[in-house]
Amino acid sequence: MNNNVKIKNIRNLIISLILILATFAILSFLDSNSDEMGYAISIIERSLIFAVVAVSMNLVNGFTGLFSLGQAGFMAIGAYVTAIFTIPIAKRPSVYYINGINELIANIEIPIPVALILGGLVAAGFAALIGIPVLRLKSDYLAIATLGFAEIIRAIIASPMMDKITNGSYGLKGIPAFNNIYEVFILSFICISLMVLLINSSYGRAFMAIRENEIAAESVGINLFKMKELSFVISSFFTGVGGGMLAMFMRSIDSKTFQLSLTYDILLIVILGGIGSVSGSILGAFIITAGKELLRFFDEPLTIGGVNIPLFKPGLRMVVFSILLMLIVLFWNKGLMGGHEITYDNIGKFFKNLQSKLRLKQASNNKQTIKER
């Protein structure tokens, strides 16, 4: 028994090493050919950022069972904090050329990693404050309250009163970009790893207990409010960091970037990947981000044999995309991963199950042929 576990551990270690090497090989290939691969790189970077936000949404919605729709708001906070403190001081007059800049923040520029963490912390602070009244609500009421919060944040950012800080409706430009794809990868990797570690810890178990049955969770000594608040705050922290990363990826942001549709995009990723599955969220982030790009040819006019196909117009892409999503949800109604994780053991099990299923099918086929004779 113990020996088996040891062999398994060694096997997993070897596979992990190979995977890490393969990942870095791919990354270095992309990075060294960044001129030709620019499109692919930007899709991957975007996917990685959305993976961080989707996993953090899953932490609250999938693992703690709280239906929160405030993601866009927390992303906006993280993005704006990161942007305000990292735009190079020299560039600021040209960014704030209409309204001027508040003197308090005019000369503060902090290193990017610190700014990202600060963005996360501010988002977490807001989450802690609104969590106190809002987390007492159940399911749909919580969704509506958090949705309202996100819209309030967006309205405040765009309001003229904030002109000297957020540049109001003009948005912020000149945000420093990532130097290379490694930075995005490593940042996302750290964020997701931390959340995975949390989910698999005693606290993660307490979150899942709340999702499964609140009253029972309380009856085994779990402080419902404290745990919900904790999950909400931690999730918002990583959502804020994700927002900061998105700001750096896009290089210019305004309040319209963080509309409700952004929350829906993330929700889509979480549901497509599977509620309560981290690997599902990561997979979903890549599928949705890449899918939206790969279907782009539907938007362009198409001519076959001199005949213009009438439907191929801008906008068709989203129609096709939505139909594909409906099909996926119809056939995998628990999401692609259905609450499972991709682990080495599960992959092995999957193939073993497939094998035995095939064998059973073959056996029944044989029986049928015998009967027919």
Binding site: L194, L197, L198, S201, S202, Y203, R205, A206, M208, A209, E212, N213, I215, A216, A217, E218, S219, V220, G221, I222, N223, L224, L230, I234, G339
Partner: protein, 251 residues
């Protein structure tokens, strides 16, 4: 004899309905006390009052002579009252092992940082050992990786009791533990309850409609009717009481 639980003049009013009316009840150390009565008599309400889900309108609840009125359910669990539910409430998508392990959570001293960074590995190991030992004792260890929802009904009941025991209570509240069980399973449950009382040095307050179970294991019985205490006494006294027979037991 040491009083573990003492309810004094306990009442609760929902709207215009007096669900519990001036109830006095004591559970002594290592005693099995039964709470019986017709449906709607207020038995489960009484449990919900003791575990802090409802706040009493008047009256006092004391655990080991300290009042627990106004405390949150999780605080009351930490003070040593564990319960099971009338309609089983397991963490159904989680494994049998995790169900018990979660209940160990409150006895270790860690925080979210030590837990995430795995600096709490000693506590984690301790929790796992405790959970494993408990499952071993309850004869559920061979099912530890099964999802709780996949267990047969009788074992789900057993797991719920095991989970309650994992919080190391001094008082265990069992809400209709034999509901839906056949005579064979009920007999096994009877011996299980008697067994855990001695093994873990527990006091047990049990709600049940299976009279054979009640008469077999309880030291004292309280009979509730319409929120009021109808009678209290030993099983034989209750069995032969005219009021109880007409209100509940039947001729």
């Amino acid at each position: 004899m040491k009083e573990v639980l003492k309810l004094t003049n306990l009442s609760i009013i929902f709207g215009g309905l007096v669900a519990i009316d001036d109830l006095n009840l004591t559970v002594n150390d290592n005693e099995i006390v039964a709470l019986i009565g017709p449906n709607g008599a207020g038995k489960t309400t009484c449990f919900n009052l003791i575990t802090g889900i409802y706040k009493p309108t008047t009256g006092n609840i004391a655990l080991n002579r300290q009042t627990i009125v106004g405390k949150r359910p999780d605080e009351i669990t930490k003070l040593g009252i564990a319960r099971t539910f009338q309609n089983i409430r397991l963490f159904s998508e989680l494994s049998v092992f995790d169900n018990v392990l979660i209940a160990d959570h409150l006895r270790v001293n860690d925080n979210v940082f030590t837990a995430t960074t795995r600096l709490n590995f000693k506590q984690e190991k301790f929790m796992r050992e405790q959970a494993e030992q408990l499952l071993e004792e309850q004869g559920l260890i061979h099912l530890k990786d099964e999802k709780a929802k996949n267990l047969p009904y009788g074992l789900q009941r057993k797991l719920e009791i095991a989970r309650a025991l994992a919080t190391k209570p001094s008082l265990l509240l069992l809400d209709e533990p034999a509901a839906g069980m056949n005579p064979q399973e009920t007999m096994e449950l009877t011996s299980l309850i008697d067994n855990i009382r001695h093994k873990y040095n527990l006091s047990i307050l049990v709600i049940e409609h299976h009279m054979d179970l009640i008469m077999n294991i309880s030291d004292r019985i309280y009979v509730l009717n319409f929120g009021k205490l109808l009678k209290t006494g030993t099983p034989t006294e209750i069995q032969n009481d005219k009021d109880v027979i007409s209100a509940y037991l039947g001729e």
